[in-house]
C-alpha cells in the first residue's frame, strides 16, 4: 500500500506540472482556437530564468539570500518574464494571422517553438544546466508517513500548483477580466461589439498562460534539476495530451488531464513497466478520444447547419 501512495505522490507532483502547462494550452485554445505548440518552450524559458536567478544570487551552494526569498524571486521573475514573452509572441507572431486560415498560425506556432529552442541553444549553449536543488533544499526535509516520502520540493510544487490552479479558476470565474476572457472565448466578434477590448483580453490570456508555464518551468528545474534547450518538447507534448484528455478549452479539464496523465505515468511505471509508460499514456489518450471525443470535461460543440 505504501508503494501505491508513493507512486501516487510522485504522479500527482508530475501531474501538477503538466496541469500548469496544460492550462496555458487550454486557455489559448479556448480564446483563439489555436494549438500553441510553442507553449512547451515557454516552460523551458521559465526553467532557464530560475537557473540564472540561482546563479545570480551566488549559486546553489553559496546563496547570498534566504531560500524562501530566492524561491519567491525565481517564481515571480519567471512568471513575469515568460508571461511577457508570451504576450510578445502573440503580438508579433499570432495577431497578424488572427484572421488567416487556421493552418497559418499553427505552422507559425511550430516555427516559434523551433525559434525559442534554437535561441536558447545559441544564448545558453547545449550543455545541461543544473539547479542542484539539494544544495539549498535538503533532501531529508519534508514529510515521512510510514515509508512514503514527500520531500520539500514536492510539497512546494503541490502547494504552489494548487494555488495557481485555484487562483486561475477564481480569476476566470469571479473577475471582470475573467468575464471578458469567457466572452471572447464564446464569441470574439460579439464580445468586441459589446465594448470588450479583445486585443487586451487575448494578450492578458497569453500572459497568464505563459506565466503559468514559466512557473511550471521553475518547478521542473527544482524537481528534475536539469535544464536544456529541448526540455520543453516532452513536457509540451504531455501537457498537450493532458489538455486534450481533459477537454481542450476547459480549464478544469486541463487540471484533471494533467493530474491523470501524471498519475497514469507513475502507476504504469510502478505496476507494469517503465518500458511501456508512453505506450499506455497515449493509449489512454486514444481511448478517451474514442469514448468522449471532446475530452473528459470538454463540451461537444454544436454547429448550425
Amino acid at each position: 500500500m505504501a508503494f501505491f501512495f508513493q507512486e501516487l505522490v510522485n504522479g500527482i507532483t508530475t501531474g501538477a506540472l503538466y496541469s500548469l502547462v496544460a492550462l496555458g494550452f487550454s486557455m489559448v485554445y479556448g480564446i483563439l482556437k489555436l494549438l500553441n505548440f510553442a507553449h512547451g518552450d515557454l516552460y523551458m524559458v521559465g526553467a532557464y530564468v530560475g537557473f540564472f536567478v540561482i546563479q545570480w544570487f551566488g549559486g546553489p551552494s553559496a546563496l547570498t539570500i534566504p531560500v524562501p526569498l530566492l524561491l519567491l524571486i525565481m517564481f515571480v521573475l519567471a512568471a513575469g518574464l515568460v508571461g511577457g514573452l508570451g504576450v510578445a509572441i502573440e503580438r508579433f507572431a499570432y495577431r497578424p494571422l488572427r484572421d488567416a486560415p487556421r493552418i497559418a498560425p499553427l505552422i507559425t506556432a511550430i516555427g516559434i517553438s523551433f525559434f525559442l529552442e534554437n535561441a536558447a541553444l545559441l544564448l545558453f549553449g547545449a550543455q545541461f544546466r543544473v539547479y542542484n536543488t539539494a544544495e539549498f533544499i535538503s533532501l531529508s526535509s519534508g514529510i515521512q508517513i510510514g515509508s512514503v516520502t514527500i520531500d520539500s520540493v514536492q510539497i512546494l510544487v503541490l502547494v504552489l500548483g494548487l494555488i495557481c490552479m485555484v487562483g486561475l479558476r477564481e480569476l476566470v470565474n469571479r473577475t471582470k477580466l475573467g468575464k471578458q476572457m469567457r466572452a471572447v472565448a464564446a464569441d470574439r466578434e460579439a464580445a468586441e461589439m459589446m465594448g470588450i477590448n479583445v486585443n487586451f483580453t487575448i494578450a492578458a490570456t497569453f500572459f497568464l498562460g505563459s506565466a503559468l508555464a514559466g512557473v511550471a518551468g521553475v518547478m521542473g528545474g527544482l524537481l528534475f534539476n536539469q535544464v536544456t534547450p529541448t526540455i520543453g518538447f516532452i513536457v509540451g507534448l504531455k501537457a498537450f495530451t493532458a489538455a486534450v484528455v481533459g477537454g481542450i478549452g476547459s480549464l478544469p479539464g486541463a487540471m484533471l488531464g494533467g493530474l491523470l496523465i501524471g498519475v497514469a505515468e507513475s502507476m504504469i511505471t510502478g505496476y507494469i513497466s517503465s518500458t511501456y509508460t508512453n505506450l499506455f499514456v497515449f493509449a489512454l489518450l486514444i481511448v478517451v478520444m474514442l469514448v468522449r471525443p471532446s475530452g473528459l470535461l470538454g463540451r461537444a460543440q454544436l454547429q448550425k447547419v
Binding site: 508503494f3 508513493q6 507512486e7 510522485n10 504522479g11 507532483t13 508530475t14 541553444l121 549553449g125 547545449a126 550543455q127 545541461f128 543544473v130 536543488t133 539539494a134 533532501l139 515521512q144 516520502t149 520531500d151 524537481l223 528534475f224 534539476n225 536539469q226 536544456t228 529541448t230 526540455i231 518538447f233 516532452i234 505515468e265 507513475s266 511505471t269 510502478g270 513497466s273 517503465s274 518500458t275 508512453n278
Partner: protein
C-alpha cells in the same frame, strides 16, 4: 598566463622527444618524403549537446595527437571537426559531409555506438577508415563494417566484467537494471542480465527514454532487497538525478554505472561505481608529459580523451607511413595502413593492434568508485 604558455611549450617539447623515442614503427616517419605529407582527418564527436564535455575532451586530445605527430613525423595533418551531439541523425549528416570531402582520408570518431551503427554503411561505401575512441557495442565489430576500428574494448568484455564484479564484490540478492533505449545501453543489458540470472540474482529490468529526467516513479520500485541499481547510460546528469531521487526516497541502493557515465563533476553520487574503457593516464608515468600538456592547455580531463588521442595517433602514423612509401595519402592506402597498425606502446599504457574485424587486441575495462568528495578512485585489479 605566461607561465602556463611556457609550461605548455616545455611539455610539447618533451612530448615530441618522447614521441620520437616511443614511436612504435620507425618506418612511419614521413621526414624523408620529397613532397610535403598533407592530409585532412575528420573528427566526429559530441562537441555540443548534453555530453559536450566529453566531446570537447575528445577533440582536445585529437588536437594534441595531431600537434605531436605533425612535429615528430613532419607531416601537415589537419583536423576537420564535425559535431554529432551524440545523435545518429546528426552523425549521419556530418558523415555525408566528410565522405563528400575528398581531402578527408580517414575519420576519428564518432563517439557513440548508435552513431557508429548509423554512419558505418556510409563510411564503408566511401572506403573511409574510421576509428572510434569510445564506441563499445559488441555488434560493431562483427565484420559487417570493414572500415571500422576502435581503440577501446567492447561491451561483450565490459558487460561480463562489470557483472562479475557486482556478483563477486557487491553480493546483491536483487538488482534493478535500467536501459536508456539506445543501442549502447540495450547491448550492455543483454550482456549482463543472463550473468546475473545465472548467479541466482533477482533482476528487475526497466527501460526509460534518454530524454526522461524524472525518475521518482522508477526509484519507488527499488525495494529494500534491491541493493544495486545498474545504469548502462550515456547521460551522466540523468544518473546524478537518479541518485538524488534515491536519496529523496531514502533508498540505499548503490548505483553501478558503465563507461557512458564516466563524468567526474557531473556524476558524483557518493559510493557509486563507474567502469571506464580508458585508464587514468595521470597514473601512467610514460604519459606524464602529455597529461601535463593536456591539463595546461585544457584543464582537467577524464578517460574519454586518451583513447581518441590513440585513435588519432593511429591515423597520423598511417598517413605518415603512406607518405614515406612515396604515395599520396588516399582513403584506400590509409585504410590499408591502419589495418597493419602495430603500436608497441601507446598513451593507453598498452599496445594497439587490430583484429580483422577492427577490435583492439586484448582490450579491457577499468573500474572506479566515487568517494564522498565526488572523486573517482581507481579500483585496482
Amino acid at each position: 598566463m605566461k607561465g602556463s604558455v611556457i609550461a605548455a611549450a616545455a611539455a610539447l617539447g618533451a612530448l615530441a622527444v618522447a614521441g620520437c623515442g616511443s614511436s612504435s614503427s620507425s618506418t612511419n616517419s614521413a621526414g624523408g618524403a620529397t613532397k610535403p605529407c598533407v592530409a585532412s582527418v575528420g573528427m566526429e564527436g559530441p562537441l555540443t549537446g548534453p555530453v559536450a564535455v566529453l566531446g570537447q575532451e575528445q577533440l582536445h586530445f585529437a588536437q594534441l595527437a595531431v600537434l605531436k605527430d605533425n612535429l615528430v613525423n613532419k607531416t601537415k595533418i589537419s583536423i576537420v571537426q564535425g559535431d554529432t551531439q551524440l545523435d545518429p541523425k546528426q552523425a549521419t549528416t556530418v558523415t555525408q559531409q566528410f565522405t563528400s570531402n575528398s581531402k578527408i582520408v580517414a575519420v576519428v570518431g564518432p563517439a557513440g555506438s548508435q552513431e557508429v551503427l548509423a554512419v558505418a554503411p556510409l563510411m564503408s561505401r566511401a572506403g573511409l577508415a574510421f576509428i572510434s575512441g569510445s564506441a563499445t557495442a559488441a555488434a560493431l565489430t562483427t565484420g559487417k563494417y570493414p572500415t571500422f576500428f576502435r581503440t577501446v574494448s567492447k561491451d561483450s568484455v565490459q558487460g561480463p566484467q562489470d557483472a562479475n564484479y557486482i556478483i563477486n564484490n557487491l553480493h546483491p540478492k536483487a538488482l534493478m537494471i535500467i536501459d536508456d533505449q539506445e543501442a549502447y545501453s540495450t547491448g550492455l543489458v543483454s550482456a549482463m542480465v543472463p550473468i546475473f540470472k545465472t548467479a541466482g540474482i533477482k533482476v528487475d529490468h526497466e527501460s526509460v527514454s534518454q530524454k526522461l529526467t524524472d525518475f521518482s516513479s522508477l526509484v519507488a520500485k527499488v525495494t529494500p532487497a534491491t541493493t544495486v541499481v545498474v545504469l548502462p547510460w550515456q547521460v551522466a546528469s540523468n544518473a546524478q538525478q537518479f541518485g538524488r531521487n534515491l536519496a529523496q526516497q531514502h533508498k540505499k541502493a548503490v548505483i553501478f554505472g558503465t563507461d557512458g557515465l564516466f563524468s567526474p563533476g557531473t556524476f558524483s553520487i557518493n559510493g557509486s561505481y563507474v567502469s571506464s574503457f580508458g585508464p587514468d593516464i595521470t597514473a601512467i608515468p610514460a604519459d606524464a608529459a602529455i597529461a601535463a600538456l593536456a591539463k595546461t592547455k585544457y584543464g582537467n580531463f577524464g578517460t574519454f580523451g586518451p583513447p581518441v588521442f590513440a585513435a588519432q595517433h593511429v591515423v597520423d602514423e598511417a598517413i605518415a607511413s603512406v607518405c614515406k612509401s612515396g604515395q599520396t595519402p588516399s582513403r584506400a592506402n590509409v585504410l590499408a595502413a591502419i589495418k597493419n597498425t602495430n603500436e608497441a606502446t601507446t598513451i593507453l599504457g598498452k599496445p594497439i593492434k587490430f583484429t580483422s574485424t577492427g577490435d583492439v587486441v586484448n582490450g579491457k575495462f577499468f573500474l572506479f568508485k566515487i568517494d564522498s568528495t565526488g572523486k573517482y578512485q581507481l579500483i585496482p585489479g
